[in-house]
Subunit: 616 residues, 2 copies
């Protein structure tokens, strides 16, 4: 698959955009006209720069409001086109994107539009360039690709073809099936965009909320499968208008973009299945190494300056210390098969509090190969020759994902720490979920990273009111519910207001009440839940009085769904982290969303004033 | 007008919300249930705290999904209601908001809904409370206030009335006229919300984008006039769900909110006009002092650490220095009637670069009275006894607006500076517009501030692509075009990325080309506009070759609209400020929006790397 990206997807100057696209490994770029017009580089210099970087210039875009107009406007439009064709010759670009008319069209007559496109084709022929006509979802008369395809067929000009953009097609709810009726040599260009499923007017939706494939809700594998079946083998390009990407460093954005096309190849091969003969075989050659099924979360690594407080909490919850590592400045705590590696944060890098998770898989090397095939950077793990090797990659927020082959056994690296004292009863079974607070810059990239690298699927995102902003939360999980990663979007203003959104790790217990009681005996003070919460709970659910009294006393929260019940309690926040213990009864599958605002408000009162985000 | 505000409008803890509402001068608050449930304060303590602060508790809200249900759900709902009525008694709240059913309703039969509301009314009677039934715009069966009013009429119960919310009515495009057919004693509560005019599903629009009255696009004066004509005299409350308000200090938000109700009273009196007899008279008693017509922008005050560079620019543009003030650490520059006061920034406060503007009006005292009636804080102006008094107020971003009575004459305070040397020709006529970059926290509040205090109207906002984000821009202007204030929204991520959005002042010249030439003779180097821009310009407009050559040589940009032409050039940015000179030919009324991305990209290249917002 030839990969391309429109310069509008990336922030900065045109040169910065080209460098970012090159470094991420794209084959080519689309030149977005405003980026050229704003650039101090002459067209010839841009061409030379792209050559130097090994990037082809695949498309000049967009040309607007051409067809369906009266004769005077047509003359002006042809004059305008001639200037752009001449510019394209200077740039060495062969294909120009023509968007369907949104402003000046006076007629929707397809014969008229086709005859005007034919004139444009004749003109473009003199410059050796060609026109890819695209139906915008908000075009005045032409707003569907099937209409655009008919007009191109009527125009019947070798230099007039189509551009297909998944957003314009799927946002209108149009079926992509009819793509297969278009001859491949009439498809001049393809742009792929994902998007969250919103009920917004298509123009605003397109301008602000497009996402790279795999980050939104469109079924792009099926879309691409239709395209592959036509025999199309031109560039597959990304044209993503997105408020976040516009504001952030273009280099990680370009890597995220490149990953999305790798993922798209993979899901296309899946969608093609066995049905498409040679093409499927060609695509499946580019399929990713199979995702390794995760059998457990082997450890979680936390980095915090508040180590002493965290140790106290872990002890109260029944974890036992293995002491420090024999050579590294970390320590190990465990309870049954749940393990924590603790350390101070790395002062050189901005390391998130939940700094890493270890996953047990059959074959760590295959897991690593899949991740690096998806452009995940491998983590160099400094270690003694005597340490057990671990392989891992870095997520967009800087946290690390490690793969090991333990599958339920005690990992050999545990022996690199000491041996804990005592034999406390084990009340914690496993890690239920890990909650990673994602800065707004990394949220969408993190969704794609975890979804693709670990083959997780995402549950619908929800929004939870915190005292200083709405928190968007999205859970990614595997089919068996072994790996559940909740990504929380830190509101974009929080760096200015100073609000902290702590991360957390939740353990599963088969008896959360017993655990809460035993922790209390060890001096544990849970996050205090207001009495008003329990009054409201009693109004919402007909709970038995003894249960209500007990959870009230223990500060345990409660929820239920169609299948079962959920009991959970929280530790107070310790710096930027806290812990949760949950009990899922009879297959309850949620996370207590209705309780989240109450929990966030209670935590807020524990934060240092400087971390609360509202001046006192 | 009794004023109230829902606690959901304000960030922080319930106590912080109450304090903010009290300090801003509200009469009462609505208790938003999640704020109560999350609060460690017992209901009795909340009641006592409100008493102490002189706030009435006007509404408990919301109660959901009650009516139109089957018998079993009805029993559960009545049980749920009983618990809430008991809670309301503890809080001392008389009125509960009931939203129309969105989830559990099985029938839209109005008789059924009315009979179930009657049961609720009987139950509420035992607690001495009453129910304000509100049609949500996304209600399952009841989504319009006229339907809700019919159901209330059929229910015919003294404890069952209506809540009218302007958002739910206007967002659906429903006419508010029929409000006048509702008996005043059936209207138990009124919530007023404005909103930008979006094509978004009503639920998302409501949850994220509500604004205080005067900050959006709804005609709320007409809405309120219908309400006043019914004889309603209960609380007028604000229920605003807004992502920005949720994240920012509740105290300035509460002041902004209180200002919006003062403004609403004013526009309601205007909408009532002479037609409503005694009621109009009652409302007009609360009308604001008339806005003083502004005859000119008398001066602009700039605060910057880059004074030396700014002086050079002003000199090159033909301004002359009057030297320093006789006692204050500021200096004056002028050209004709355009004046600049320059100084170093106040290190104690976060002072914006465009720190103040002076407006000439007939009666500065009336202008000040209007501003302070709108809760604008008066600025204490430190001055010698010998200085001419000036009156002024502070805008939400910290900039100052001063009123003087000069009206075209040289202000007397000019004599507090020295006398400039030389007699350069005057090529600058007036200040054309002032561009204030607004942090995201202050943008909506700034719109209301300038709109209400100076009686400006707003032009539709536009979005302009900068190299590191989209900039939203909205122009507020008076009828004569004397005062034009462009508010630019700094993208919310910029504090994290470090991107700077400079502010600017634009002068009007009757011969921008002559001014550009004379400035060049004085060594001026304008902001360099890329050659690609002029090639594109030539493709877009059939410009005469000599004019095109001249503007290209002088780095002057060009635009045209239906009526005329626009020529303008920019200085490079100096720290966080730059200057623009514009020439409007034949009544061109815009600001060269198409040129803005090119200008922003050119400025971006001048910024220090740390201010560019993208890591190099």
């Amino acid at each position: 698959m030839r990969t391309s990206i429109a310069t509008v997807c990336l922030s900065g100057t045109l040169d910065q955009k080209l460098v970012a696209a090159h470094e991420a490994g794209f084959d080519g770029v689309e030149i977005f006209e405003p980026d050229l017009v704003s650039s101090p580089l002459a067209p010839e210099a841009i061409r030379a720069r792209a050559d130097e970087l090994g990037l082809s210039l695949d498309l000049y875009q967009p040309f607007r409001d051409f067809e369906g107009v009266g004769p005077e406007v047509l003359d002006m439009n042809l004059r305008r086109a001639e200037a752009k064709f001449s510019l394209m010759n200077r740039l060495g670009i062969e294909t120009m994107l023509l968007c369907s008319n949104v402003a000046t069209a006076r007629s929707g007559d397809e014969q008229l539009a086709a005859s005007q496109l034919r004139l444009l084709g004749d003109l473009s022929d003199r410059f050796g360039v060609r026109i890819a006509y695209e139906a915008l979802a908000w075009g005045r008369f032409v707003d569907g690709y099937e209409t655009a395809a008919r007009i191109v067929r009527i125009a019947d000009h070798p230099r007039i073809g189509l551009c297909l953009d998944s957003f314009h097609i799927l946002s209108k709810g149009h079926s992509p099936e009819a793509i297969e009726t278009i001859p491949a040599d009439r498809i001049f260009f393809v742009q792929m965009a994902d998007a969250p499923l919103l009920n917004l007017d298509v123009l605003s939706w397109s301008r602000h909320h497009r996402l790279f494939p795999g980050e939104g809700g469109f079924d792009l594998g099926t879309f691409m499968a239709h395209l592959v079946r036509t025999g199309y083998d031109g560039p597959v390009s990304l044209e993503i208008f997105n408020d976040t990407f516009r504001q952030t460093d273009p280099r990680p954005t370009a890597v995220d973009a490149r990953r999305s096309l790798r993922w798209l190849e993979h899901v296309t091969a899946e969608a093609l299945g066995a049905s498409a003969g040679g093409r499927a075989a060609r695509m499946s050659a580019s399929a990713l190494p199979t995702a390794e099924a995760v059998s457990d979360i082997n450890y979680v690594e936390l980095r915090t300056t508040e180590l002493a407080d965290l140790r106290t909490l872990l002890g109260q919850l029944g974890f036992r210390s293995h002491g420090p590592h024999r050579s590294k400045a970390v320590e190990l705590w465990s309870q049954g098969d749940v393990r924590f590696v603790l350390g101070e944060p790395d002062t050189e890098h901005r390391q998130p509090t939940v700094a890493g998770i270890g996953l047990s898989v059959d074959d760590p090397v295959t897991a690593l190969r899949r991740a690096t095939a998806l452009f995940a950077p491998e983590v160099p793990r400094p270690q003694d020759a005597a340490d057990e090797p671990l392989v891992g990659v870095r997520a967009p927020d800087g946290s690390e994902v490690f793969f090991g082959a333990e599958r339920g056994a005690v990992p050999r690296w545990v022996s690199e720490f000491g041996v804990p004292e005592g034999h406390d009863p084990v009340l914690i079974d496993r890690v239920d979920h890990v909650n990673l607070a994602q800065p707004w810059q990394h949220f969408d990239a993190a969704v794609l990273f975890f979804r693709s690298v670990l083959d997780l699927h995402s549950e619908p995102s929800i929004e939870v009111a915190a005292p200083v902003g709405l928190v968007r939360s999205l859970v990614l999980r595997d089919t068996d519910g072994i790996v559940r990663i909740a990504l929380n979007l830190v509101p974009s203003g929080s760096s200015e207001t100073g609000a902290i959104l702590p991360q957390h790790v939740a353990f599963a217990s088969s008896d959360v009440l017993a655990l809460a009681r035993s922790a209390r005996e060890r001096g544990f003070a849970p996050l205090a839940i207001p009495a008003n919460y329990y009054d409201d709970l009693a109004a919402r659910f007909p709970l038995d009085a003894p249960l209500l009294d007990e959870i009230r006393e223990l500060n345990v929260m409660y929820d239920r769904d169609e299948s079962g019940e959920f009991l959970h309690f929280y530790t107070p926040p310790v710096g930027t982290v806290f812990l949760e213990v949950v009990e899922r009864r009879n297959g309850y599958s949620g996370y207590g969303a209705l309780n989240a605002p109450v929990r966030l408000a209670a935590q807020y009162q524990h934060l240092r004033p400087a971390d609360q985000g509202v001046p006192a």
